[in-house]
Symmetry: C2
Subunit: 295 residues, 2 copies
């Protein structure tokens, strides 16, 4: 868990500009805005092919290739950045799709080995590469705690006792799958596991549940079932916390579920207020479940 000062303020804002390595989606801009809003300079390093050009245009930035680790380190040093944050979606590329820079080539055998494990393994290994080069890696939620989803029922609706049972089952399933480094999301409906996310991502999984329902293969009334997202146990939370957003709400609504539950402070949202508003409009709950099971 991130070390936060009391009141949820970032623990460290003082050590020069912050380098933000930006993948896809709206989270990178939300983090940049939050950090810049506190008066800290940010330098963005959008990853070519993933980051949204419009989202980074207002900040100083350098486009990088995914395998240009040494170039990134050189540019970050030149900008005076000693601290880095990785944020946003980067789908796992093929090692062949990577076009490494010259310096990274020397690291290549090690990087290829990283690719042979699961996502966790890959990210933790990349993190170590940066730490050995003298950088400090922070979690996005450490520099921008406002993106963490808090505990409790966040909109107008809350989970029913049946939903709470589904949430507890979902959290234990994610925990049981932890050693296998799989996805961080499952759909549980009335005590039954409808879907488990692996390489396909949450949106695809929700579309599948919607299809099962259309085909009459779920056999439960609408507004039964919960999307549950939580980090894997032991996961390095500086990378890849599960995230939710307005699109998640749309997917959950189409899948005919009752709501969304995440582990409180174990998931992030770029636009939590918009997400809650969308859930209220769709009649769904958004719930931060405490890891100890209390609500």
């Amino acid at each position: 868990m991130a070390v936060l000062e009391e009141g949820g303020k970032p623990s460290d804002q003082g050590s020069g500009p912050l380098a933000i390595i930006c993948g896809g989606g709206s989270l990178p801009l939300a983090v940049a805005d939050a950090v810049a809003g506190r008066g800290r300079r940010v330098v963005l390093f959008p990853v070519r092919g993933w980051a949204d050009p419009a989202a980074i245009a207002h900040y100083p930035h350098h486009w990088i290739g995914l395998a240009q680790i040494v170039r990134l380190q050189r540019l970050a040093r030149r900008e005076g950045c000693r601290e880095l944050v990785f944020i946003g979606a980067v789908l796992r590329p093929s090692p062949r799709q990577l076009r490494p820079d010259l310096g990274t080539l020397r690291l290549l055998p090690r990087i290829v080995r990283l690719f042979l494990g699961g996502d966790d393994h890959l990210l933790t290994g990349l993190g170590r590469l940066f730490e050995e080069a003298g950088f400090r890696l922070l979690g996005a939620h450490e520099v921008a705690p406002e993106i963490l989803v808090p505990a409790g029922a966040l909109g107008r609706r809350g989970p029913s006792p049946r939903d709470l049972a589904d949430i507890a089952r979902g959290l234990s399933l994610i925990s049981a799958m932890g050693p296998f480094d799989i996805g961080q999301a499952v759909v549980i409906a009335d005590n039954r596991v409808l879907a488990v996310e692996a390489a396909e991502g949450t949106d695809h999984m929700l579309a599948r549940v919607a299809e099962l329902r259309r085909e009459g293969r779920i056999g439960l009334p609408k507004k039964v079932g919960v999307l549950v997202k939580a980090p894997k146990p032991g996961q390095d939370r500086r990378f890849d916390l599960p995230s939710i957003g307005v699109r998640t709400v749309a997917g959950v609504a189409t899948a005919g579920l009752a709501g969304i539950a995440v582990e409180a402070e174990g998931a992030i949202a770029a636009d939590l207020q918009d997400t809650i508003r969308a859930a209220d409009a769709a009649g769904l709950f958004v719930f931060g479940a405490r890891a100890d099971g209390s609500s």
Copy 2:
């Protein structure tokens, strides 16, 4: 595990005609043919909406509704059947879709409770209902051991060392998910979990892996990765052993995987020889992995 006599012959063929309750797919006919081929009379009870009319036409049969448990018991008694086998796919229906017969209505509260658990829970509970009515429930593999997939490489190809590692990982993942009563199939490729089957079934899961590959989201060369199927630990093997067939081979080929592995004698095939021939033609392996990990 089924009690088989040495040589894999059925333990019991003597107690009158066998009632076979037939779901969808080709397994019911394969079991009926195998049992009838040994000279035992069979009476089929095809389930309306699931069983294939052409497949049951050559045997004495009575169509039944899924919730006509008491009617089924009455007809089976009239036919002199004291032993029953459930075989073939029956997608979990909605309790509302069931049209119970009058006698079953009295059992309904109990049946509805069964539906609140996972598939295992449902099937074991139904089994108990029949046993209380004086029937003996057998596994299809007990009356037709030839449908069990044996150990070893069954076609021309065998798994590589990397495939064997993927198979071991798949078997432990299925085992870890056992308490959650999920599907019995996963796809592992180069140590990475690509897909986990839940309510959607194996064909849907394989189609998803094929789609991920088309979208360039897998990042592995073709012929890497294994479909692994195995029963859940503690599962009542008289119901719902995982099955493979020619269609599974087609799905695995389209998904770009290297082969299919099942737990040896923990999975069934209606047409194992056809399945192996199709796999040979597609350049895939079909492998029965011993539960203790040896090969």
